[in-house]
């Protein structure tokens, strides 16, 4: 009795191992089902989805104009104090004074890519970029000023 049970267990054990090994063997011979990406070498062909949250950027058009009114909605929406909007008042052509941004300081090292600032922005001035290789040698390089030097607000955005 004992010996039959023992042989049966050995047989079932070997069978279950072979069933599992069949899977391994299948993938060993079917290279097309391998999905490994050679990451640093495939940078040119690497396509990230357009919604990927990599870092906050402020798009500028060809006239070096942005859409930011300096309303500080992003600063209020940010949970970590990542964004600081520094405003100044500029003199318009007709003599009126208007609030405009001087600098939009963005601390990438504090950012958690939660997308709340982009959602909060009423004039779509900031968007998420698809960059993800953020490592630098110096920590101060992670503090960025998003508006280009000499840029101003687009016409017609209040």
């Amino acid at each position: 009795m004992f010996i039959t049970k023992y042989i049966k267990e050995v047989y079932l054990g070997i069978k279950s191992l072979l069933v599992g090994m069949k899977r391994t063997g299948y993938y060993f011979t079917h290279h097309k089902e391998i999905i490994t990406q050679q990451y640093p070498d495939n940078r040119d062909t690497l396509n990230l989805p357009e919604r990927f949250k990599g870092e906050v950027v402020m798009p500028h058009d060809e006239k070096n104009e942005h859409r930011c009114t300096g309303c500080q909605a992003c600063e209020l929406a940010c949970p970590n104090g990542t964004i600081k909007v520094i405003t100044q008042s500029v003199l318009l052509a007709d003599g009126r004074k208007k609030k405009a941004i001087d600098k939009l300081v963005y601390h990438l090292e504090l950012c958690t890519m939660c997308n709340l600032c982009v959602v909060a922005c009423p004039s779509d001035a900031i968007v998420m970029a698809q960059t993800f290789e953020h490592s630098v040698f110096d920590r101060t390089k992670l503090t960025k000023i998003l508006n280009n030097p000499g840029s101003k607000i687009m016409d017609g955005i209040e």
Binding site: L17, G20, R23, T24, P49, R51, F52, P79, C114, V119
Partner: protein
């Protein structure tokens, strides 16, 4: 009882299991008292990655605090965000559009599959099988790609907001999810072939770490850990939220109570998640993906509680509001903490080598335990 717990007799060996470096993620430190190879006591040491998330939430507004909860149980980040958003909506008495409800449930179930797959791979790796880890991550990668396309992130999505979801689903979402379901239905048989039917695996899982139904209830276990002992506790079934009362699915129950029962619950739960997704993916109603909310959310004075079924069990979110823009107090009832508390009970008297099998099937996510 006290003497047995508090003191060690001569000849006992105390060993430390687990990494404890603060820079590693998911650190669980177990101090184990051994008599020979038999476990006398298991003492989990927590606090290595305590980030005081509950306290942090008190200084954040009702829109902002949701993103922090992705960092609790990072494998079911969507479901955590869902619980918080639901609790805020309860306070605001906000009705969310049907499209948002369906998208939320779809995302929850995809997250559940992804989480169980990672558990399956990691648990098999704990037991010494390395191949399943790669097989599990291969399918999980497909889900991550779907998430990345719609939510913009792979792990900490912050997709659920009070009132609905942050963005509408991507145009390719439905097609990709259907492709994934077709792929996954094939692959889940491979999981059974490779691991479930394996004789070594079965011998290591069966009759190991027995947890009776009474103990599961008294220790406050929830999710697959409790359902492996035959306790009916699926929040989706008994306290349905969103569209869970409109879909047909089975609550998986196993009565074994051992590690293998808990394993089978999770494997079969993945099939049920696929079943829920199949029912909903073609029936996403048209309409808004987000209800109109005020720019600054203010909850009325009072206490609000919501509960969801995460991949690990019941997550409860309790908000005390004083009527301001930030919560007065937030408490998270995390499933991992209660599930870990049972480890000492089920490990006593068994061998040291079986401890890994028990820990594996409890599906511990340490940031969820520590918060």
């Amino acid at each position: 009882m006290f003497e047995e717990v508090g003191t060690t007799t001569e000849g006992d060996l105390i060993i430390n299991v687990g990494p404890q470096h603060p820079a590693t993620h998911g650190v669980l430190h177990l101090v184990i008292t051994l008599n020979g190879e038999t476990i006398k006591k298991v003492e989990p040491h927590l606090g290595f990655i305590h980030r005081s998330i509950e306290k942090m939430c008190e200084s954040l507004s009702y829109r902002q605090f949701i993103y922090v909860t992705s960092r609790m149980d990072y494998l079911s980040a969507h479901i955590n965000n869902h619980a918080c958003a639901m609790c805020v909506e309860k306070g605001l008495q906000l009705e969310i559009p049907p499209r948002a409800q369906v998208v939320r449930v779809l995302m929850d179930e995809l997250t559940r599959i992804a989480s169980h797959e990672l558990w399956w791979g990691a648990m098999a790796m704990d037991l010494g099988a390395f191949t399943p880890f790669f097989h599990a991550f291969r399918e999980r990668e497909t889900i991550n790609d779907i998430m990345e396309e719609t939510c913009g992130a792979r792990l900490t999505m912050n997709y659920m907001v009070p009132g609905g979801v942050m963005q509408d689903i991507h145009p390719d979402f439905q097609r990709k999810v259907k492709e994934f379901i077709q792929l996954f239905k094939r692959k889940i048989h491979e999981y059974d072939e490779m691991v479930t039917g394996n004789v070594i695996f079965q011998n290591r899982m069966k009759k190991v770490g027995y947890l009776s139904a009474e103990d599961a209830v008294s220790y406050g276990c929830s999710g697959p850990t409790a359902r492996g002992s035959g306790v009916r506790c699926d929040i989706r079934k008994y306290y349905p939220y969103e569209v869970y009362n409109n879909v047909e699915f089975e609550e998986i129950l196993e009565t074994g109570g051992d590690s293998f029962a808990r394993y089978m619950v999770r494997i079969r739960e993945m099939e049920q998640s696929v079943c829920i997704i199949e029912q909903l993916i073609d029936n996403i109603p048209e309409g808004d993906f987000q209800a109109k909310t005020k720019a600054v959310l203010k909850l009325p004075k009072g206490e609000f509680y919501s509960r969801v079924e995460t991949a690990r069990g019941e997550l409860g979110v309790y908000i005390v509001s004083e009527g301001g823009t930030t919560p007065y107090r937030i408490k998270f009832r995390s499933p991992g903490f209660s599930n870990l508390s049972v480890l000492d009970h089920i490990a006593r008297g068994s061998k040291l080598g079986d401890l890994v099998a028990m820990m594996g099937t409890l599906d511990l996510v340490i940031p969820d335990i520590d918060r």
